[in-house]
């Protein structure tokens, strides 16, 4: 009877061990954090700066962002159904430990429209909360910046839905 209990205990433990990696694989990239999923991202100004040197801004809306992973291809998308069903600025991402980086191309319907690219940097507070800064490199030139592009930063926090 004692042997049967021990055997049952081992079988139960082995079963539980097989479940644990399955669960964490869905939530982790390389055993750490992952962006895969849908996030609600809220942005706020840094030091009261609501526009760039050249007067460009993205405003401070709340955005829904969706991230996916297919092998080595890490993709992202901003849902802008408020503008139109096909308005989905696209991006890519990577995670190194607790640090994250994403980069997006903005959606620009007209050649005359000022456009740009957004680079997000941040950290995971836990698997469901991120925060950091976003830098927008506008297509407007600004010789006073190191890149030569009009650059604007703001802070963000993100919560997984």
């Amino acid at each position: 009877m004692f042997r049967k209990c021990i055997l049952f205990g081992f079988v139960t433990l082995a079963f539980l061990y097989t479940l644990v990696p399955c669960h964490s694989a869905a939530h982790a990239q390389d055993g750490g954090f992952t962006l895969v999923g849908q996030w609600t991202v809220t942005s706020t100004p840094i030091g009261g700066r609501t526009v760039s040197n050249e007067g460009n801004t993205l405003g401070f809306p709340v955005r829904d962002m969706v991230f996916a992973q297919d092998g080595t291809l890490n993709t992202g998308m901003v849902l802008r159904d408020d503008i139109g069903p096909n308005v989905k600025p696209l991006g890519v991402w990577r995670v190194e430990g607790a640090n994250l980086s994403c980069t997006f191309e903005l959606w620009c319907p007209e050649a005359q429209t000022i456009c740009g690219s957004v680079v997000m940097r941040g950290t995971f507070q836990d698997p469901s909360n991120i925060s950091g800064t976003m830098a927008v490199f506008f297509t407007t030139l600004d010789p006073s910046t190191p890149t030569g592009l009009d650059t604007w930063v703001f802070a963000y926090t993100g919560k997984m839905q």
Binding site: N53, T72, L73, N74, T75, N86, V87, K88, P89, L90, G91, V92, W93, R94, E96, N99, S101, C102, T103, F104, E105, L106, W107, C108, P109, E110, A111, C115, S117, V119, R121, T133, A135, F137, T139, T145, P146, T147, G148, L149, T151, W152, V153
Partner: protein
């Protein structure tokens, strides 16, 4: 004679065509970037470094479909593949991606932003800017992270 007899039909057709032109944004006009490209990218080896590093990568650029931006893959010289995104307005293009972060490298990781113009006649991209935004913080930089400037060019392989 035909026009007079079918004036109503012609009027409707003209209106439909006109509305179609209005609804299609100019940015959709043509996807010059779609295809396979070999690109040469030269950037500093790290933040503040004067030493330049050149790498050759392959862009596989997919169609945008109904979107104004598109997806692509970038294969580096070690055959590692990552995803990227692109925008094309007229002949001006912008590509951004996260190159593979090599933990063995002494340089920090970074994000690449490539800006240039497509020259369809020669099947080339003339890069005007290759910008790296490194992972290292720098409160003096307007992006709050170190940035470096480089250069790039590309030649079409298949379209």
């Amino acid at each position: 004679m035909f026009l007079r007899r079918h004036s109503r039909l012609v009027s409707v057709s003209v209106i439909v065509i006109a509305v179609g032109f209005v609804m299609v944004p100019p940015a959709f006009s043509q996807d010059f970037l779609v295809g396979t490209w070999t690109a040469t990218i030269t950037i500093p080896s790290g933040p503040g470094s004067q030493q330049m590093v050149t790498s050759t990568v392959t862009f596989n650029v997919g169609a945008r479909g109904k979107s104004l931006v598109g997806r692509m893959t970038i294969t580096d010289d070690q055959n590692r593949i990552v995803a990227g995104v692109w925008r094309e307005v007229g002949k001006s293009i912008s590509i951004t991606y996260e190159p593979v972060c090599d933990p063995a490298s002494s340089s920090p990781c970074g994000t690449l932003l490539l800006i240039g113009k497509v020259k369809p006649a020669t099947g080339t991209i003339k890069g005007t800017r290759a910008i790296v935004m490194w992972d290292t913080k720098n409160s003096q930089n307007p992006s709050l992270y170190d940035t470096s400037n480089g250069s790039f060019s590309a030649q079409i392989v298949n379209q």
